[in-house]
Every structure is written in structure tokens, then in C-alpha cells.
Amino acid sequence: MTSLRAHDLRLVYKLPRKLSLALRDRRVADGGSSVGGRTAGNTVVALDGVSFDLEAGDRLGLVGTNGAGKTSLLKLLYGIFEPSGGRIERSGRVDALFNIQLGFRPEATGRRNIVLRGLINGWPRAEIDRRMDEIIAFSELGDFIDAPFKSYSQGMAARLAFAIATSFEPEILLMDEWIGAGDPAFQERARQRMEELVAQAGIIVLASHQHSLLKRTCNKILELESGTIKYFGPSAAYFEAQSKP
């Protein structure tokens, strides 16, 4: 049974004070950029005491201001960061869509990029070949699939990325913000695909500032503030509380 559990997660790290011969530029921070939370000296507490349980069929919306810790939490759940404390229990195949351009070669065709992206995700070559037509069909790229990736619009790139990531039916899909990309028709198809994933006993974790998207898509909300949980519960109750003056 697919599940995702976080127990008292904590992510603390030191801002990299790199060894450098350059004079320090006091206009910019010493390092670290995408993660927020509380800082003390050069130590950042990006997440502290974060616990939640997700079961098959859950669609969790991550909300919070920039720097609240949403991306850090997604990267912890995916395994890019290791927690400084607490533990994560994942039961199910995990895939992530953080940066839609990541892994795409601008000079290679869409078709070749499907192969490369599949290999990077650890899929067997035979499986990639078997899914190729389905991915191309879902991406709606038509003849563009044999054109270089650099000729694609942002929406086309997003469609291809989404088609690849969801073609292998990840049991746990982590997404950061970008799902708003693409035209309304594609967004509707993407929403349907996500519904299918959830119906197949999947879990989706989606970080976004678009409350309308989260309201439509998610059944649970986790709000982060300075790396700690401000709210975790049903999305209906969250948005109801938000709508009150």
C-alpha cells in the first residue's frame, strides 16, 4: 500500500562559507538560496518538527511564503537532502517534477530527450521504448517530437516533462509549482492525469502559491511557516478559514 510518512523532520545545515581568496561581497548572502527557515549565525534551520502521514489517494498541497521550507520539504521527501533529524518512510515508487527543464538537452530532439530523461529516472531502455508512443501522444507535440528541444515553447516543454514523469505511473509524485504551465486545455488534461494517478492509489504532493489550483486538486493542505507546520489538515477547512475575513 502506497504511503508517505514524515516523523519529526528536521533539516539544519550550515550556510557554505566557502574557502575563497575573494573579498567578501556584503551585498549578498554567504550562500544557500532556495531554502528558508530560521537562521542563527551561518546555520539555517530549514525545517523543524515536521510530521505528517499520507495514505494512498491523498493529494497534499504545500503552502507557505517564499522561504517557508516548501522546496526543502519536497527535496527531503525525494531524497536529495538527508534529514538532520527525524525520519521519512516511503512506501511506493517516487518521482519528482521540480525543474521542468532539468535533464533536457536543448540540441537533442524531443524523442531523444524522452530516452535520456527515462534513463536518468532509472527506467529500463525497453520500458522507455514501450512507452514512447504514449508519451508522445500525451505531450501533443506531433511532428515536433523530432525537432530539437530548444525549438519548443515553455508550454511544449512542460507538456513533454509532465507526459514523461507521469507515464511510468509513479506511486508518489512530488511537484513544485510549475503545474500551472501550459495552456488551459493541457492543464485540464494534466488534472485528469493526476486524478488517474490518485485513483491508482497514488500520492501527490504539490507545492504552489496558486490557491485555486490547490483547492481544485488537493484534499489536504500543509502550511509551513519558518520551517514549522502552521496547519495540516483537510483542504476544505483550510480554504474555508482562509476565506473568512
Partner: protein, 261 residues
């Protein structure tokens, strides 16, 4: 430390198991670098021939028998090592988006770069073979030792690149320091000068520059058909020290690199 080293070994083992990824990406890298050019990767062969030809024409004073072969083989190994060092020092910085966006083991990037170096060296090797043929240097049984020498260089290189990649991430200024050292390195390593005519600092560098021995394990068997025992011992020892250092560094910094970029 044992935990760190076993973590590094696990990372490398996982990377080796994903050969489909780094082989495919390395081919794309080499193809992309020459995609818009008329001659494509053949430029790698042309560049090597121009480089080697220039050295032979300028530095062959007629006192060293087989000087063109000496330069051709020495340059082949030196370019492989120096390319690996200069690319390795900025490797993790260049792969920042991958490292911060995927769960691929760090060794994937090292193996991808090694594969890229091997592909590029393949073109230079064709140029080297042309020079040897042109100067009537014919294969002999002794050349088999050279194959063993090539294997040692190939084994040493990923370890050296791990050290460079970690050091370049922790100390970014290193890319410029190493860039200058590489430029000097071609003069301090016996690529186009021979130990017999070396004096002063050159003589010191011949003995104390570890890269000397990686060149000699490949070059001496081809030049003289003999087994250079001392060069092999030092090259193998240097490879062991390189890998031990690489495993320690990879083990210590493996999970920190993502925050250092």
C-alpha cells in the same frame, strides 16, 4: 571514516550500475560540443595532430631517436589527464541543477566525464596512430605493457576527478589556480622534453612530478619495447593514494555537496 568510505563505495557502485545513463549523456556531450560544426568531432583529431605536429616541428633537435613517437604518445596521455583535471575542478558546479534536482549518485557525473574523456581520447588515439605509422614505428610484443599502462591511467582518472570536483566545490578559486598549473604542467611534465637532456629544474620535475610516471608506463613500452618497472610501481602506488583520498573526500562531502553549490 569507515562509514564515510563505505558510503562513497556505495555511491560509486550505484553509479557503475547506471552505465546506460552516463554512456548516453557522454555521447550527447561530445556530439553537442561539435553539433554546429562542419567536421564534427573530427576536430578532436585535427586539434591533436596540430598540437603534436607543432611540438615535433619546434622541439625535435635530432638528438632524440623516435622523438615524434615520444611526443605523440606523451601528448595523448597528458591531454587525457589535463582535460580530466581542468573539467573535473568545475564538474559539480556545472552539474548543479542535476545535483539539486535529482537523486543520482555523484559518481554518475564523474563517470560521465570519464566516458567523455575516453571518447575524446579515442579521436586523439587515431591521430597518435597516424603519427606512429607515418614515422614507421611498428607494433611489437612490448606494446602489450603499454595497454597495462593505459589501464592504470584509466583507473586513476576517475579518482583524480573526484578529488578535483570536491576540492573545486569547496574552494572555487581552485579552478583558476589549477588552470594556470595545467598550462605550466605541459612544460613541467616530460611531454616534449626528454629526461636525458633535462637539466636543473626539469630534472627535478622529471622525478618528482607524479604525472611523469603515468606518461612513462604508456610511452616507454611503445618507444623501447621494455617493461618500465619503476614507473609502473610508482604509477600504481600513486593510483592507490589517489583513490584512497578520493574515497575519503567523497565519503565526507557526498551529502554536503548539494548545500555547497
Amino acid at each position: 571514516m569507515i562509514n564515510a568510505i563505505s558510503g562513497a563505495v556505495a555511491d560509486i557502485r550505484k553509479g557503475l550500475g547506471m552505465s546506460g545513463v552516463w554512456v548516453a549523456l557522454a555521447h550527447e556531450d561530445v556530439g553537442d560540443a561539435h553539433r554546429r560544426t562542419l567536421l564534427g568531432p573530427a576536430w578532436l583529431l585535427i586539434n591533436y595532430l596540430l598540437f603534436a605536429g607543432t611540438f615535433v616541428v619546434i622541439f625535435d633537435d635530432g638528438r632524440t631517436p623516435g622523438f615524434p613517437a615520444y611526443v605523440a604518445v606523451g601528448l595523448l596521455v597528458w591531454l587525457f589527464i589535463s582535460d580530466g583535471v581542468s573539467q573535473g575542478i568545475v564538474l559539480f558546479q556545472r552539474e548543479q541543477s542535476f545535483i539539486q534536482g535529482t537523486v543520482l549518485p555523484l559518481s554518475i557525473y564523474i563517470l560521465r566525464m570519464t566516458m567523455q574523456l575516453v571518447i575524446r581520447a579515442g579521436y586523439a588515439l587515431a591521430g597518435c596512430a597516424m603519427i606512429l605509422l607515418f614515422f614507421h614505428v611498428m607494433p611489437s610484443v612490448g606494446w602489450l605493457w603499454s595497454i597495462l599502462g593505459v589501464m592504470i591511467v584509466l583507473v586513476m582518472m576517475p579518482g583524480l576527478m573526484i578529488i578535483c570536483a570536491v576540492a573545486g566545490t569547496v574552494f572555487p578559486d581552485l579552478q583558476f589556480i589549477v588552470g594556470n598549473l595545467i598550462r605550466l604542467g605541459v612544460f613541467l611534465t616530460p611531454v616534449f622534453w626528454v629526461p636525458a637532456t633535462a637539466v636543473g629544474l626539469h630534472k627535478i620535475f622529471y622525478h618528482w612530478n607524479p604525472f611523469t610516471y603515468f606518461l612513462e608506463v604508456v610511452r616507454i613500452p611503445i618507444m623501447y619495447g621494455i617493461f618500465p618497472e619503476r614507473a609502473f610501481v610508482i604509477a600504481i602506488a600513486a593510483t592507490a593514494v589517489t583513490w584512497l583520498t578520493a574515497l575519503m573526500l567523497l565519503g565526507i562531502y557526498r551529502k554536503k555537496i548539494v548545500f555547497l553549490l
